[in-house]
């Protein structure tokens, strides 16, 4: 095949200029920074509170998405009902919708006077400007990941597996638990990890609904922006390095998960 040198040149140059060099520069700054500065920044009460909040709401949102994403994937892959194709297309909406729009509309809906916020407020439940509100925004953002990871696996699963389980005496529920779920687990975990990774870094949709009170509803990306606006470049860099490292780790996990799930799905190819 021709084009090795040309495409290699373009790809290497572009990937280096856009991704590697800038991110490398950030990491370089992080490691050349005095260790004490880095440590002091990251362990300051405000930063710690923001990290704790960021990771816990991201985790909560990813868990919600794992449960409901599996449900939506199951319904889309297994059942036929009017409007299924529209619903199937709509699942990708959070991928396509600008995050700021999601933030604006969710805030308006869940604020004290909003469509969902007002009745909940009457029950004494506050959503907007609390961690619950942030979780809702992050659930919206991460929704498609689990669905799109699980749905194709569910569609390609050999129906003979379920038939075999049934002839061996398994009930529907046992078949789901012992046969289907283990086959879906890698995809489910991948979707969960993707949704979690995305939620950790999310900014646009959160800042509207979070209220951004330091120590209570301030996420780490926002704290980075705040520090930047105060020309605290060292502080911003320190936090950014923490974020970047967690992205790397998650990306690594996702790659390993995908390898695992490919191996597992590869079984079908041997058999046929």
């Amino acid at each position: 095949m021709p084009g090795y040198r040309l495409t290699f040149g373009i790809t290497l140059f572009y990937a280096s200029a856009i991704v590697l060099f800038p991110l490398g520069a950030l990491v370089f700054r992080g490691i050349t920074m005095p260790w004490s500065t880095l440590w002091a920044t990251v362990t300051s009460p405000r930063a710690l509170a923001s990290l704790r909040l960021t990771f816990s709401v991201a985790l909560a949102a990813a868990l919600v998405n794992a449960v409901f994403g599996l449900l939506v994937a199951w319904v889309l892959a297994r059942y036929r009902f009017p409007g299924r194709r529209v619903v199937d297309a709509l699942v990708d909406l959070p991928f396509a919708l600008p995050t700021a729009v999601a933030g604006l509309t969710l805030t308006a809906l869940y604020s004290k006077t909003g469509l969902f916020g007002a009745p909940l407020e009457a029950l004494g439940i506050k959503i907007a400007f609390t961690p619950v509100g942030i979780t809702i925004a992050l659930t919206f953002i991460g929704l498609p990941y689990v669905v799109r990871a699980v749905q194709p696996v569910l569609e390609e699963l050999d129906p003979a597996l379920e038939e075999a389980a049934a002839t061996l005496g398994a009930t529907r529920w046992q078949t789901f638990l012992y046969v289907l779920l283990p086959n879906l687990t890698p995809a489910l975990l991948t979707g969960f990890a993707l949704s979690f990774a995305r939620a950790i870094g999310e900014y646009g949709s959160v800042i509207f609904i979070a209220g951004n009170m330091p120590m209570r509803t301030e996420i780490t990306p926002l704290l980075i922006v705040t520090k930047l606006e105060q020309y605290d470049y060292a502080g911003a860099t320190a936090l950014a390095v923490v974020m970047l490292v967690s992205s790397f780790v998650l990306l690594l996990c996702i790659n390993l998960l995908q390898r695992w799930s490919n191996r597992r799905l590869g079984l079908g190819a041997h058999v046929a």
């Binding site: 050999d158 003979a160 597996l161 038939e163 075999a164 389980a165 049934a166 002839t167 061996l168 005496g169 398994a170 009930t171 046992q174 012992y178 046969v179 283990p182 086959n183 597992r264 590869g266 079984l267 079908g268 041997h270 058999v271 046929a272």
Partner: protein
Amino acid sequence: MENTPLSVRLENVTKVFTKSETPAVSDVTFEAPPFGVTSIIGPSGAGKSTVLRLIAGLEAPDIGVVRIAGSDVARTPIQRRGVGLVFQNYALFGHMTVRENIAFGLTVRSRDFFRRLLERRSERDKINERVTDLLRLVQLQGYDDRLPSQLSGGQRQRVAFARALAIEPNVLLLDEPFGALDARVRAELREWLHGLQQQTRVTTLLVTHDQDEALEISQHVVIMQRGKVAQTGSPEDVYDNPVSPEVASFLGANVLRGHVRSGRALVGPVVADAPRGANDGDSVNAFVQPQDVKLTAATSPNDGDVRLGTIERARVVGSRVKVLLLLANGDQVNVEMPRDEFDALAVSEGEQVYLDARSPRVFLGDYSI
């Protein structure tokens, strides 16, 4: 494994899949007697697998009755039909070890929670013991902890057998069980299945498109064509007395064209009694199995002798020779004969020989494939 073997009977069963106009299975009636292997054979698309799925309960008949041991099973769910189904692609659970696969049917059955608490230990021991027995039966001792992906095709096949046998099925259903294996493993597994049958004596239904396989390992044969049962009987019976041109040609017979003259069917080299109800001038077909054609040397052939054929091709296949002959009327005839007999003829490609056909079957009408 001391099950009393049960018969399986289909009565006028029809199954139509929507979106297709012709029924997949149409008015099928046959009985698989208890003991032994009943083979369902036929070309692909004949509805063989659908019959198995109807018996297993994976499909429900639109019309007709499926009976196991004489009773209608329409209201018996798959889980309680007691059928062991071995799938075409095995459908082993990829995330479970060999042992877990085989034990699956036993563990999902013991689901009475309180009983399980009380008897947990002893029950688990019982299951383990049984799985070990089955592993021995399918000659896979020591493979307990392998995953299916770490086994060869033949080994996977045997795990699938063991898994199906674990639940002590009333009926064992095999859907093209050797389809995906190479010739040597197929032959081995056929032998093995025969032995297994002798040991377990479970009523077995085997679906295959390979007539040799069916004739070799079954006591009873059901030939299906286009969703209907074309013929049933013992292997020898269907082989010797095919009821229709289709059956004969599916079983590998040569088709020869000819006609009726003065009460005799003249079909190339074959002369036989005309079928009943045939008039002079009617077209007829004769069916002759390749090994029932006898060749003799033609030392000084007269042109126009209907018994003459030209050797188009002769291929040595092991100890036998497959010969393709061209008749004067353009029909082709496959002949199979022992190699020493062929060598004794001392003929080669392009030369002429006399044909003589033993036990031809003659049918009215012009059948072409």
